[in-house]
């Protein structure tokens, strides 16, 4: 665990609030799914909150992320609004994706969220492209400072993905490309020890995925993925370097998912002691203890934050429940920007 020295109380409390927001968002989503409000898959992020929150705390408003099938945490950490997220999960018209995407595809470019992704590894090359656009923005800033894209001149892209994804070809190709072109991309691998039901040692012959960085001559860093401040520290440093034009880094965050791979999976393939160990290492519980041990805030303040989260989610659920269902014919919209008179293209 990190020392709290040097961080403002507001910042530290915000980290806490975000983690609780994610935890409770996911717990409620699971409940809502069992009640029939959510028709599709859910891959809960519970247990990994410190990664999304720590990493996104290092980002500013001209930075971008790509996410995964386990994306709610990243999206909330990056500023996603639980109202539009629940509305999307409920398949309602006010959802971020107007009910066309669902959990696997929530995106909002304005917030810097290029999208969750249903394809394991699918978001990684896209982040490289974002890095390319960000690098270009530096040129634009010099030559055409009025172009709105010039504002991104200092931007970085963060791509989240799992241990399982680190075996995909896209991972390798993307790191090579980003390293070669010194793009401002941080590759954040959340090693939660499983790809679906398969433990890490059965899907790759290494323990530390960070070692794969050496194949691209870039830094390979390891963070305690259950320690929000450690993640913040490591990603901040990598982002700082990237903003300075020093190129990408691979950051492995060691963590664990508390639940099954998706809602419905009980996760029995995991040894009880392992689960117990990691429940003990709960990122929120421990961070809460740390905050209380310091002089940053009181139990009451944290309870107030907890309650505010509860309140926010209560309202978000109500918002989603009140949101209209899409009209069936909306299925025909949004394939292309134009309608081409509807049928001609459809």
């Amino acid at each position: 665990m990190q020392s709290l020295a040097g961080y403002s109380p507001a910042f530290l409390k915000e980290l806490y609030r975000k983690m609780v927001l994610i935890r409770r968002f996911e717990e409620r989503a699971a409940e809502l799914r069992s009640l029939g409000y959510i028709p599709g898959f859910l891959h809960p992020y519970i247990g990994q909150e410190a990664v999304a929150v720590g990493a996104c705390a290092a980002l500013g408003s001209h930075d971008y992320i790509t996410s995964t099938h386990r994306g709610h945490g990243h999206i909330l950490a990056r500023g996603g609004d639980p109202r539009y997220m629940y509305a999307e999960l409920f398949a309602r018209r006010d959802g971020y994706n107007r009910a066309k995407g669902g959990s696997l595809h929530i995106a909002n470019i304005e917030l810097g969220i290029i999208g969750a992704n249903g394809i394991v590894g699918g978001g990684i090359p896209i982040a490289v492209g974002a890095g390319l656009a960000l690098k270009q923005a530096r040129q634009i800033a010099v030559h055409r400072p009025d172009d709105p894209r010039a504002r991104r001149a200092n931007g970085v892209a963060v791509t989240f993905f799992g241990d399982g994804a680190s075996n995909q070809g896209a991972f390798h190709e993307s790191l090579n490309l980003a390293a070669l072109w010194r793009l401002p991309v941080i590759f954040v691998c959340e090693n939660n020890l499983y790809g679906e039901f398969t433990p890490q040692h059965k899907h790759q012959p290494i323990r530390d995925i960070a070692t794969r960085a050496s194949s691209y001559a870039i830094p390979g860093l390891i963070a305690d993925g259950n320690d929000v401040l450690d993640v913040y520290r490591v990603v901040s440093k990598a982002a700082e370097d990237a903003r300075k034009g020093r190129g990408p880094a691979l950051v492995e965050c060691k963590t664990y998912r508390h639940r099954g791979h998706y809602e419905g999976d009980m996760g029995q393939y995991r040894p009880a002691e392992e689960v117990a160990f990691w429940l003990e290492a709960d990122p929120i519980k421990n961070y809460r203890r740390l905050l209380l041990a310091g002089t940053v805030c009181s139990e009451e303040e944290l309870q107030a934050l907890d309650e505010a989260v509860e309140q926010e989610l209560e309202e978000a659920v109500a918002f989603a429940k009140a949101s209209p269902h899409p009209a069936p014919e909306e299925a025909l919209e949004d394939v292309f920007v134009e309608s081409y008179g509807g049928r001609a293209l459809l």
Binding site: K100, G102, L104, N167, G195, F197, H203, A331, L332
Partner: protein, 342 residues
């Protein structure tokens, strides 16, 4: 009319069980047969299809793989080229996108490129179609890419009995076969003979006889087509429902015989309309069986859209009984006729 042998004593299995039984029987028969796929081992696959096979045949033969579709299909191909028959699973056929080089440039072409001197007894089980709110990247029906790729056989099994008999034929075939299984059929039940039977590739099946119109359907559209035929029967329409069972090879003669009886053709397909396999069937009919056609061909297909998430939207995209029945009505009541003048 049907190539499926009748079971002495009716034995009802689910489609998933029938597939598992075919795999197990073939693994017994050929002790070198391997299974490869993500989470197919201990967990028995995401849809439970391979449950128990690891325990029965050991981890030397049932291989859980990393998430690396390209290498997995390449590895299956390499083993097959050395005479080790292999069945690989693509968990959602959408992920075949990651293995297209190995499927299309390598597996499909190896025999041909080598002048017939190599053989790749490889089956790729493709878990296909929507499963309800699975959205754009977990719902695709991509069979037409592969029918358009010479060198691949393409099987679409629509019932438990067909699944068993066709999968066994696919496994014994010396060439690469893509075997499409529909997620929403896994729990469907039907009679499945207990004995070792094969359904040859290339024989369609008249699933329901009729005289007014030929309704072609496969996979999850087959039960819907049958329901539509039932509905239409009460309106006095006699609908013949025909399942091609394998798209490559395609049973042209079977289709012709049906059109000789009905003179009208409606094709149903879950995939988006544009350039789906329905287009090929329509083209075959318009080219080879034109004189038999009494009315325009009708395609009842998925809309030309990616698959949306919301159930209302998904239902709009995929043909249902009502839409199929409407297509049939339109075709039967059409008064355009083709007349053979010579």
């Amino acid at each position: 009319m049907t190539a499926t042998p009748k079971a002495e004593k009716e034995r009802r299995l689910t489609y998933a069980q029938a597939i598992r039984e075919a795999l197990a029987e073939e693994m017994e028969r050929d002790p070198s047969l391997l299974l490869l796929g993500e989470d197919i081992g201990e967990p028995g696959g995401v849809f439970g299809v391979t449950q128990g096979l690891l325990q029965r045949f050991g981890e030397e033969r049932v291989l859980d793989t990393p998430i690396s579709e390209e290498a997995v299909i390449g590895a299956a191909l390499g083993a097959a080229l050395l005479g080790v028959p292999t069945v690989a699973e693509i968990m959602f056929s959408d992920f075949a996108t990651l293995a297209m080089d190995q499927i299309v440039n390598q597996a499909a072409k190896f025999r041909y490129m080598t002048g017939g001197r190599t053989s790749a007894p490889l089956v790729i089980r493709m878990v296909t179609g929507t499963a309800g709110a699975t959205a754009a990247q977990h719902s695709q029906s991509l069979e037409a890419w592969f029918t358009a790729t010479p060198g691949l056989k393409v099987v679409t099994a629509s019932t438990p009995a067909d699944a068993k008999g066709l999968l066994k034929s696919a496994i014994r075939d010396p060439d690469p076969v893509l075997f499409f299984e529909h997620k929403l059929l896994y729990n469907s039940r039907g009679a499945v003979p207990a004995e070792d039977y094969l359904i040859p590739l290339g024989e369609g099946r008249v699933v329901r006889e009729g005289t007014d119109v030929t309704l072609v359907a496969y996979l999850y559209m087959l039960p819907r087509a049958l329901k539509a035929a039932e509905m239409l029967a009460s309106e006095g329409l006699s609908v013949e429902v025909w399942d091609p069972r394998t798209l490559v090879p395609f049973d042209r003669d079977g289709l012709r015989r049906s059109l000789e009886r009905t003179g009208r053709l409606v094709i149903v397909q879950e995939a988006p309309r544009r350039n789906g396999f329905c287009a090929e069937i329509a083209a075959i009919a318009a080219e080879e069986f034109f004189p038999l056609l009494k009315a325009p061909i009708k395609r009842v297909c998925g809309t030309n859209t990616p698959m949306p998430y919301a159930p209302e939207l998904e239902q709009f995209v995929i043909p249902d009984e009502e839409r199929i029945a409407a297509g049939v009505r339109e075709t039967v009541h059409s008064t355009v006729r083709a007349v053979s003048g010579g």
